[in-house]
C-alpha cells in the first residue's frame, strides 16, 4: 500500500472537496475529513473524496498537515475546538479570502500556521459541487509571517503546486489590500449598480431597462449578484482595506461626474483612453 503524507481537511465543501479530489489523484496524500454534518462525512467517504471522515476532531491527531476550509465566519470557533487535538508538528493552513484577521488570530496560537488563499471558486457550494482541476492556473497566495517555519511554508507551497496553481508570497496586509481592489471592491461597485437601477423612480423606465439589458450590464453586475453572505464576510473581515478602496473609488467616480457636469469631453475621452490602455495589465 502506497503511503502518502497524512492531511486533514476541515470543512468538506466546494473548496475542501475539490482540493481533496486533486490531492488524492496526485497519489501523494492520505486524506482525512472533518465536517459538522454526519451526512457530509458519509458522502465524502462513499464518493472516495477522503479515506476516512468524522465529525470529531480527534480523527486529526496525527496529521502532518491540516487545511481549514470552513467559511471565515466559523473559522475561529472551529480552530478553538481543533487545536487541542493536533500534535505540535502539524502544519496548519487555511483557505480564507481575507488574511490579516485570520493570521492575527491563528499565528499566535499555532506557530506552524501558514495563511493561504487559493483564488478559485464557482457559483456553487457544498461537497456535491466539488470538482477536479478547480485550482489549475489560479493564484494561490501564501502569507507567512517572519516567525513562520520554512518547513511549514514549503509544505503548503508544495500543496499549491500539486493543485496546479501559481504560488505567490506576500504579507497578510498586502494580500488584503490587493484583494480589496480586485475582488471585494468590485462586489460593492457591482451591487450598487443593480441597486441604483432598481431605484429609478419611473417604473416604465426600470421595466424597459430590464428588457434592454444585455452583455455589458450582465458582466458589470455579475459579482454584485453573488452570494450575500460572502459579501458580508469580505466587508466584515477586510473592512479597513475595503473602505480605503471604496474611498478611492468614490473619488474617481466624482471626477467622472465632474467632467460630465462641466462637459469636458476631451478630458473624459482621455480618461477612458487611460482605462482602456491599462485594463490588459490586470491578468
Amino acid at each position: 500500500m502506497k503511503v502518502g503524507m497524512k492531511v486533514g481537511i476541515v470543512g468538506l465543501g466546494l473548496i475542501g472537496g475539490s482540493m481533496a479530489l486533486d490531492m488524492k489523484a496526485s497519489g501523494q496524500y492520505q486524506l482525512y475529513g472533518v465536517s459538522r454534518r454526519p451526512e457530509t462525512c458519509r458522502q465524502a467517504v462513499e464518493w472516495g473524496v477522503v479515506q476516512e471522515a468524522s465529525t470529531n476532531f480527534a480523527l486529526l491527531a496525527d496529521m502532518q498537515m491540516v487545511i481549514l476550509c470552513t467559511p471565515l465566519g466559523v473559522m475561529e470557533e472551529t480552530v478553538q475546538r481543533l487545536l487541542p487535538h493536533l500534535n505540535p508538528d502539524t502544519v496548519l493552513t487555511d483557505v480564507g479570502s481575507v488574511k490579516r484577521a485570520v493570521v492575527d488570530a491563528l499565528a499566535p496560537l499555532w506557530p506552524n500556521f501558514v495563511g493561504g488563499h487559493p483564488m478559485a471558486g464557482t457559483a456553487d457550494s457544498g461537497l456535491a459541487a466539488a470538482q477536479r482541476h478547480l485550482f489549475v492556473d489560479c493564484a494561490y497566495v501564501l502569507t507567512p509571517v517572519p516567525s513562520t517555519p520554512a518547513l511549514a511554508v514549503e509544505r503548503v507551497t508544495h500543496l499549491a503546486q500539486v493543485l496546479g496553481s501559481r504560488v505567490y508570497h506576500c504579507t497578510p496586509d498586502e494580500h488584503d489590500r490587493a484583494v480589496a481592489w480586485i475582488s471585494h471592491l468590485p462586489v460593492m461597485v457591482s451591487a450598487s449598480l443593480i441597486a441604483a437601477c432598481l431605484h429609478e423612480a419611473d417604473v416604465g423606465v426600470v421595466k424597459l431597462a430590464k428588457t434592454l439589458a444585455s452583455s455589458g450590464f450582465r458582466d458589470t453586475s455579475r459579482v454584485g449578484g453573488g452570494n450575500p453572505e460572502l459579501g458580508r464576510m469580505m466587508a466584515t473581515y477586510n473592512r479597513e482595506a475595503l473602505l480605503r478602496s471604496l474611498y478611492g473609488y468614490r473619488h474617481q467616480l466624482d471626477q467622472v461626474i465632474d467632467l460630465i457636469e462641466r462637459s469636458q469631453w476631451e478630458e473624459l475621452e482621455q480618461r477612458l483612453g487611460q482605462t482602456q490602455a491599462s485594463r490588459p495589465e490586470f491578468t
Copy 2:
C-alpha cells in the same frame, strides 16, 4: 432579375456592413452604400456587401429607405449633406445609441424619419468586422414621435424583424433613460473601478492586484476598458440622463460605504441579498 426594396446604407462599418449582409441574404432588398472612403466603397462592392457604393450621396436619389450608420459625432453633418439628394418618400432611420438628440435634430428636417437603435455590437469596428446574424435576438428599439408616419415605422420594424431582432417601441426619452442605466452608467462605473485601482499609492499592492485579478475583476471592468470615443459620445449625447443615473448610483454607493463604516453587517447582507434576487430580472 429579382427586385427588392432599394435601401441605402450610409456608413459601411461594423453595424452598416453587418446589416447589409443579413438584408442581402433575405433576398428582400437591393443595397446601395455610401462611405467617405473610396477604399471602403470598393471593398463593399467587391465583397458583395452592397451592389453599388459611392462617396457621393447622389447614389441614394431613389431609395425607399436610407439607414444612417455613421458614428453619432458625424451624424448631423452627414445628414445635412444627404437630405438634398433624397426624394420625400424615402424613409430615413439611424442606428445611434442615443435617441433624443438625434430625433430632436432630424425629425423636424425629415418627416419620414424614425429613430432606431439596434443594440448589438462587438469590440471590433470597420467593414472587415461585419458579420452575419449580429442582430439576432438582440433588442432593436424604435422611437417614433406622434408625427411619424405609420408606413415609415412599419418599414423599419420589418427591417428589424428581417435581422431577427426583438423590436421595442418607446419615446426617445424613455430609451435614453433606460440605456443610461444599463449601458452608459456601467461604462463610467467600470472605468472608475480601473482608474481607482491604478491610483492606489502603494505600487507593490497595485502590482499584486494586477497579478491576482481574475474573472470577477475582468467582468466588472470589461465595459470600462472599451472604446473611449464611444464613451465620450454616450456622455455628450446623453448627458442629462447619464448624470441622473450617476447621481442615483453615487447615492447607492454612499449607502454601502455608510453601512460598512458603521459595521452594519446584517443590513449589508440584506442589501446584497436584494441585489442578488433582482439581478435575474435584467435579461
